[in-house]
């Protein structure tokens, strides 16, 4: 193993009695994004292995689904990924609608997309902010959180909650947009968009920051697909795929937006910096989407007529949506009763964590933090 011309192996051959150190990073550690544990084997600062140990936040959400019924499970979906709860809501609503063949009113689809995209911005703000914090710059984090607070305010106005929204229902959404939500939303986007450039000037193109990110933990496109990386992590490796565009759902086919893809703009394709910049660009695309939605939103009802005892026909359905952490899969098996027979959520963080053991070999301990942050891991999403 060679790192910066410093050969670790030589030390051993010269007769130094060296020994690898086993470090226990987490479950309580400042930058493991929740409760995540790594068993790190390190030779000084260089890791030979970092094995993720997950499950500390397992709340048996899939088991709960089998007990609470279709409508009752909606609030639990928020807890699958509480940083971006809206797409989880939408995933569950969509898989139920697919099973039962329900048509969602168009205004409800717009409400869903507006809510999801706002949530995507707020989730990405957390992602890039904590990335800065993990690298050691605290200021970008507070600035990102300041902007996120405004989104939380807007979503609070929309559904009454700031984190676990429980906004969507099977067949639509719970509440229509509040009066003058469109004006407030557009005013926010107008103010926020120029701030992205400020943010880039502050941190994204900082020399030290780039040095820490560029060429760290390079993942090729094939590797990313083989390990089933999704969303920004996949696009950071140069795979041009976005569920919103390529397996269209909701009203996304009617909207104009680009899919940012990493192209190795500073270093190697698929390094941490590519993944980071994809998120920054996705924030800008989400702003575009919200702008279009708020301008085009049609009148009408926001909730289809759904029986209180919701009994989809026998069968199973798999739905993929683009959550903030990428392609999120919802698999639901129905046996025709009021309760789902089996629910499985395939989340982006779960598969991203599985690749860490492979990419972390030969990196430094400080890089492990960078890699975890660049994957935007959210521990509850891994463990469910």
């Amino acid at each position: 193993m060679s790192l910066g011309g410093f050969d670790v192996q030589v030390l051993r051959e010269n007769g130094f009695a060296t020994e690898e150190m086993t470090l226990n990073m987490g479950p309580q550690h400042p930058s493991t994004h929740g409760v995540l544990r790594f068993v790190v084997r390190a030779d000084g600062e260089v890791m030979t292995e970092a094995v993720p140990d997950v499950g500390y936040l397992h709340r048996s959400i899939e088991k709960i689904a089998e007990k609470v019924g279709y409508h009752g499970f909606m609030p639990y979906t928020d807890r699958v990924d509480y940083v971006a709860a809206m797409p989880c809501n939408q995933g569950w609503a969509m898989v139920c609608e697919k099973l039962a063949g329900i048509e969602v009113p168009r205004r409800a689809e717009y409400c869903r997309v507006i809510a999801c995209e706002f949530n995507r911005i707020s989730s990405h703000l957390i992602a890039v902010g904590t990335m800065g914090m993990d690298i050691g710059a605290f200021t970008p984090f507070t600035h990102a959180l300041r902007e996120r607070e405004h989104i939380n305010d807007l979503l609070e106005e929309l559904c009454g909650a700031r984190l676990t929204f429980n906004y969507m229902r099977i067949g639509g959404v719970a509440w229509d947009l509040p009066p003058d939500f469109a004006e407030k939303g557009l005013a926010y986007i107008d103010r926020f968009e120029p701030l992205i450039d400020e943010y880039n000037a502050l941190i994204s193109f900082n020399k030290i920051y780039k040095e820490r990110l560029i060429n760290v933990a390079v993942i090729t496109g094939e590797e990313a697909i083989n390990y089933n990386l999704v969303g920004p992590n996949l696009r950071g490796s140069g795979v041009d795929f976005d569920v919103r565009r390529d397996i269209p759902y909701s009203i996304y086919p009617e909207l104009q937006f680009d899919v940012p893809v990493g192209h190795g703009e500073e270093g190697t394709l698929g390094d941490c910096f590519d993944r980071y910049m994809v998120r920054i660009r996705e924030i800008q695309e989400s702003c575009k989407i919200i702008r279009q939605c708020l301008q085009q939103i049609p009148e009408g009802s926001v909730l289809a007529k759904i029986p209180r005892k919701f009994k989809p026909p026998v069968g199973d359905a798999y739905v993929r949506i683009e959550s903030a952490r990428g392609d999120m899969g919802w698999y639901c098996v129905s046996d025709g009763s009021e309760y789902p027979y089996r629910v499985k959520v395939r989340t982006g963080s779960f598969t991203a964590t599985s690749i860490i053991e492979q990419v972390s070999r030969g990196l430094m301990i400080a890089d492990l933090i960078t890699v975890v942050a660049s994957f935007d891991l959210v521990a509850p999403e891994i463990d469910r």
């Binding site: 997950v54 499950g55 397992h58 048996s60 899939e62 088991k63 089998e66 697919k98 099973l99 039962a100 063949g101 094939e222 590797e223 697909i225 083989n226 390990y227 089933n228 795979v239 795929f241 390529d246 397996i247 989809p312 026909p313 026998v314 069968g315 199973d316 359905a317 798999y318 993929r320 392609d327 899969g329 698999y331 098996v333 129905s334 027979y341 089996r342 499985k344 395939r346 779960f350 598969t351 964590t353 599985s354 690749i355 492979q358 463990d383 469910r384």
Partner: protein, 164 residues
Amino acid sequence: MDTAAIYSKLKERFGDAVLALESEDAGDPAIRIQPRAIVEVAAWLHAEADTAFDCLTNQSGVDYPDRNEVEVVYHLFSYSLRHTCVLKVGVPRDNPSMPTVDPVWKTANWMEREVFDLVGVVFEGHPDLRRILLPEDWVGHPLRKDFVEPTEYHGISTKRESML
């Protein structure tokens, strides 16, 4: 390529190992495969140019006590051809053992660990088949339909007098 076309190609190539095309229920059509043949089928679907399923997007286990089998469901996706396919494999409940597809798709490593953990399917040849979400010393597989919730865990009662 839709599921029916993939089914006929698979039937042609593997014969009896491919059991049936299930499309009568609501939701996605699926192809049922013999447990022993899953690795060859998976490798073939991955390698063949007109299927090219380079990604296993989801793998889940479902317990069916009335059929006395545990079903493992593979949701495949091809990034190059942008088409999907669902494979289903049933293994008996009392001896739920089948080969691993880890050599074909690396992501199956963790997904199979999860299926093993929650439903109890043993994947032969898996490099690291340990519990993933539940504690190492957990007894049973909670997503089995006959799983009984333990009344205590390490001396801590799981029941509460009041729900508040």
